[in-house]
């Protein structure tokens, strides 16, 4: 890995303390986010707040299984986010397919399609596990090790090839106007 300049180190320490997240809540793991956000576990004390649009967000939470239809949207959303961006995969579904491993419509490994920085094991992970993962992610960002966005740029062809192999085409059709 390349040495970071002093500015990048400062920027990385800011980035690790202020994480704006975009949650892609199609899986069951989304259920554990409300308690993580609200009074019981309060993730705002780490500077983590939800944001409304992909343009503003720093991390994307993929909260569980993705089928081929939602994967297209995830790729779109991921490519709309501003660098540096990080991805957190929730639950065993994003790691190896989980209990849907033999389903005809879901994808098994998220890492083939977009780079994932932190996985959270469990089905579904409890808020403690989520906070643990966020702390780990903050640590990684501070050390400059969370470089998924760089990997995506460098290995774009490989990711594109995987996406096309599973999806046929990545383009999202406008069902109402075409």
């Amino acid at each position: 890995m390349k040495e970071r300049t002093i500015w990048e180190q400062i920027a990385d320490s800011f980035r690790s303390r202020s994480i704006w997240m975009l949650h892609y809540c199609t899986g069951c793991g989304a259920m554990e986010l409300p308690p993580t956000m609200t009074a019981r576990f309060d993730m705002e004390r780490f500077g983590i707040t939800p944001m409304a649009t992909p343009r503003q967000a720093d991390i994307m939470l993929i909260t569980g299984y993705l089928n081929t239809k939602t994967l297209r949207r995830v790729i779109y959303t991921y490519e709309q986010m501003a660098d540096p961006k990080y991805v957190v995969g929730f639950g065993s579904c994003t790691i190896n397919g989980g209990i849907y491993f033999d389903s005809y419509s879901t994808i098994n490994r998220l890492d083939y399609y977009i780079p994932v920085d932190v996985y959270i094991a469990g089905c579904m992970p409890r808020p403690e596990a989520i906070l643990e993962a966020f702390n780990y992610l903050m640590e990684k960002i501070r050390k400059g090790e969370a470089d998924g966005w760089k990997r995506y740029k460098e290995n774009y062809d490989w990711y594109k090839q995987n996406q096309i192999r599973s999806l046929g085409e990545v383009y999202v059709h406008d069902e109402f106007h075409e």
């Binding site: 980035r15 303390r17 705002e44 780490f46 649009t53 503003q56 540096p84």
Partner: protein, 296 residues
């Protein structure tokens, strides 16, 4: 030369004061909701982090709009007096109307840039923000006009001096309360955060903003809030040295935050009905009292 230094001081103080007060406000809201909340310097981290990202642009109208918004807000913040003639950078041009017009430059710049991003949510947000402006400006301007009529001057630092023997808030309590309600709308605090409602219209004007643009607009928002609260403090809460001014500023801010932390959000037409109902009527009543000379 001295004026330039004072104006610069205005900007520096406004930036650090409002940004840390925003963090304190988040902390207060968190405590009200029985959470721990972020540290008070969280918003500094947020702004600097936003400035460190690699954003997308949406064309030159968008870029220019963001710069115009920031420039307009900074120019206004430079003019605003801080509680006494000593801390008035430009004593000849701190007229209320000058400030209001300059302030509109920032707001229009933001509207232009955000509509230039081409996102429908942004257009809806901007139209909501302008509608809301229509809502709160009417009672606010009527109250300010009665104040100007009462003191026979529109210059803010003269208004401050004339309040030596009693705050304007005590002269016309009704007007003060209405101006505070309008201030809540200006600040975009909770019952009136219609234009940026994240859950409804994806944070409205800010939808397409990424990275540096978001940071710049946050700074613009900081200066805008500095101007708004400063105007309220100057016009209604009298003068004093810089320390007193800061105390008053903080009290007004904390009050606004406390009110906003327990309230839900209005819909756009409810907001307009609210502002053009009781506050507008009371503002007219207040103007009538001033005209008849029935002030305290």
């Amino acid at each position: 030369m001295v004026a330039a230094y004072k104006a610069l001081f205005n900007l520096v103080l406004g930036f650090f004061l409002v940004l840390s007060l925003e963090g304190v406000g988040r902390k207060i809201t968190a405590r009200v909701q029985r959470r721990i909340g972020p540290p008070w310097y969280q918003n500094f981290i947020d702004v600097f982090k936003a400035l460190s990202k690699h954003p997308f642009s949406n064309g030159w109208v968008f870029d220019f709009g963001v710069l115009m918004a920031l420039g307009g807000a900074m120019a206004t913040a430079m003019i605003v007096p801080m509680g006494s003639t000593t801390w008035t950078p430009f004593p000849n041009s701190d007229n209320f109307f000058v400030i209001m017009y300059l302030f509109a430059v920032g707001a229009l710049g933001m509207a232009m840039g955000m509509v230039g991003s081409g996102n429908p949510w942004a257009s809806i947000g901007v139209s909501r923000a302008l509608t809301q402006m229509l809502g709160y400006e009417l009672p606010y301007l009527i109250v300010i006009s009665s104040t100007i009529f009462y003191y026979k001057t529109a210059s803010i630092h003269k208004l401050v001096e004339l309040q030596k023997n009693g705050w304007n808030l005590l002269v016309m309590p009704l007007g003060g309360i209405i101006a505070f309600i309008s201030l809540m709308g200006m600040l975009g605090k909770k019952p009136f955060d219609i234009s940026t409602a994240p859950a409804e219209i994806a944070s409205g004007p800010m939808t397409e903003l990424s990275g540096k643009y978001l940071g710049l607009l946050h700074i613009m928002h900081v200066f805008a809030m500095f101007v708004e609260v400063s105007l309220f403090v100057d016009v209604f809460l009298g003068g004093g040295n810089l320390g007193w001014y800061l105390v008053k500023f903080i009290v007004v801010w904390v009050l606004a935050v406390l009110i906003s932390s327990v309230l839900p959000r209005f819909r756009i037409e409810q907001m307009l009905k609210f502002y053009w109902g009781v506050p507008l009527g009371l503002a007219f009543l207040n103007a009538l009292f001033v005209l008849l000379g029935w002030t305290l």
